[in-house]
């Protein structure tokens, strides 16, 4: 049954008629054209589809668009500043080459931003444990963990910007 769903995505209000069974990730990719959010496993395991709902990381393949009615969603497209300046976590992934094929990267970055928001001071082991909902099929974890730790430091240096998200 079609239903109108309205939410804020990357700071803009969007409203669409969708079938009620539409997944959030389908809504973002197919209805809004925001293809930065990836579908990896489609079984809630891999984390390639991670977005923020009201600031908290969730798997967009395991939520219905209608469940997110009225919420604020941030995708990887919403992280960089309007002038294209990368979010500190994105910059850290680039600097430390925290990717190989790049398919898992949007989810890794979104999970990392949420993690650092909650726990600014992280050890390497804590990062490894906390990223267990994100799988890198290239097994590029070493640089991903390095990037998250560097991104965490950089986010501390830019508190005002992070708070504005």
């Amino acid at each position: 049954m079609p239903s109108r769903v309205t939410m804020t995505v990357n700071g803009k209000t969007v409203s669409r008629e969708v079938e009620e069974r539409t997944l959030l990730v389908t809504f973002l990719r197919d209805h809004l054209g925001l293809t930065g959010t990836h579908v990896g496993c489609d079984t809630s395991q891999c984390g390639a589809c991670v977005v923020h709902i009201d600031g908290r990381s969730v798997k967009a393949c395991t939520a219905l668009a209608v469940q997110v009615e009225g919420c604020s969603v941030t995708t990887i497209e919403g992280l960089a500043a309007a002038d294209g300046t990368l979010h500190p976590m994105q910059a850290a992934f680039r600097e430390h080459h925290g990717l190989q094929c790049g398919f898992c990267t949007p989810g890794m970055v979104m999970s990392a931003v949420d993690l650092v928001r909650e726990t600014p001071d992280l050890t390497e082991q804590e990062v490894r444990n906390a990223l267990d909902g994100n799988i890198c099929r290239c097994t590029g974890y070493h640089n991903i963990v390095k990037a998250v730790l560097a991104g965490a430091e950089a986010m501390k240096a830019e508190p005002s910007r992070i708070a504005a998200e």
Binding site: T43, S44, G47, V58, T62, A63, V66, G133
Partner: protein, 263 residues
């Protein structure tokens, strides 16, 4: 997934009324139900999302323990200052369910109503002398889980909260499946005065109490008291992840580890 009609009622009464529809199903955080629907393993006529009902949410300290609303998400329980203070082992359990993203969505009521044999919460519900509160009655935690994916709930009954009794000490340890993050075996130990309760999830078709381990710990509440105490593999789960014998062995090992996390 098959089409369904979606509703988000604002009160428990509205939800109960909507649940009268044939083949209606309640939606908690959806972390099990949505994957099930995606695989077309279920075909509900209606999905009734409980997320907009304020009465079902939150942690409250009550005489003798805690009452946690059924729609309280795992992350909230894991991070709750009240839960960490009153029953830290419960906060620890909730904070290690699934992964971070699943914990941001999944709910207490959804987990126990689903009664997955490898879920974490059932171990706490059975160990912590709980009462499962529904829209019509109170069910002792000991009687709530009746089999694999089966509970004492009626088809149209809604879990509203769970009341946990504060133990003197408690601990939980699980041997995690690294892919699914479910418990291959999870053991919750709780001490109430002279009484010791040991609840085991993941090992059998449904959560159960390990009598032999309880007796050993009641006599001597130390991890060493479990040395040589064996659990019968008969009737335990066997799959590609672990044989019944291996799970039986893990029960004692996890119980000892739980004793090492007592708070």
């Amino acid at each position: 997934m098959y089409a369904f009609s979606y509703q988000r009622p604002k009160t428990l009464a509205e939800a109960a009324n909507a649940l009268k529809a044939e083949d209606a199903k309640l939606l908690g955080g959806g972390q099990t139900l949505l994957p099930t629907l995606k695989q077309r393993l279920a075909r509900p006529s209606d999905l009734i999302d409980l997320s907009a009902i304020p009465d079902l949410k939150g942690v409250r300290e009550v005489a003798g323990g805690l009452e946690i609303g059924a729609f309280t998400r795992h992350a909230e329980v894991g991070q709750s200052e009240v839960v960490r203070r009153v029953i830290p082992a419960l906060a620890g359990l909730a904070g290690n369910i699934g992964d971070r993203q699943v914990r941001h969505m999944g709910t207490l009521g959804g987990s126990i109503a689903n009664a997955d044999p490898a879920a974490d919460y059932p171990a706490a519900v059975v160990a912590l002398k709980t009462v499962v509160v529904t829209d019509r009655r109170e069910i002792p935690g000991d009687d709530f889980f009746t089999g694999m994916f089966e509970t004492a709930l009626q088809p149209d009954e809604i879990v509203t909260a769970v009341r946990f009794t504060k133990p003197d000490q408690a601990g939980y340890a699980k041997f995690r499946n690294p892919a699914s993050r479910y418990a291959v075996v999870g053991v919750f130990v709780a001490k109430f005065g002279a009484e010791v309760r040991v609840a085991v999830t993941g090992a059998g078709p449904s959560v159960f109490r390990a009598d032999a381990l309880e007796a050993a710990l009641a006599a001597d509440f130390r991890a060493e008291a479990l040395d040589g105490v064996a659990v019968d593999a008969d009737g335990l789960n066997a799959d590609i992840h672990a044989s019944a014998e291996y799970r039986a062995h893990l029960v004692t090992v996890m119980a000892k580890r739980a004793m090492g996390t007592l708070e």
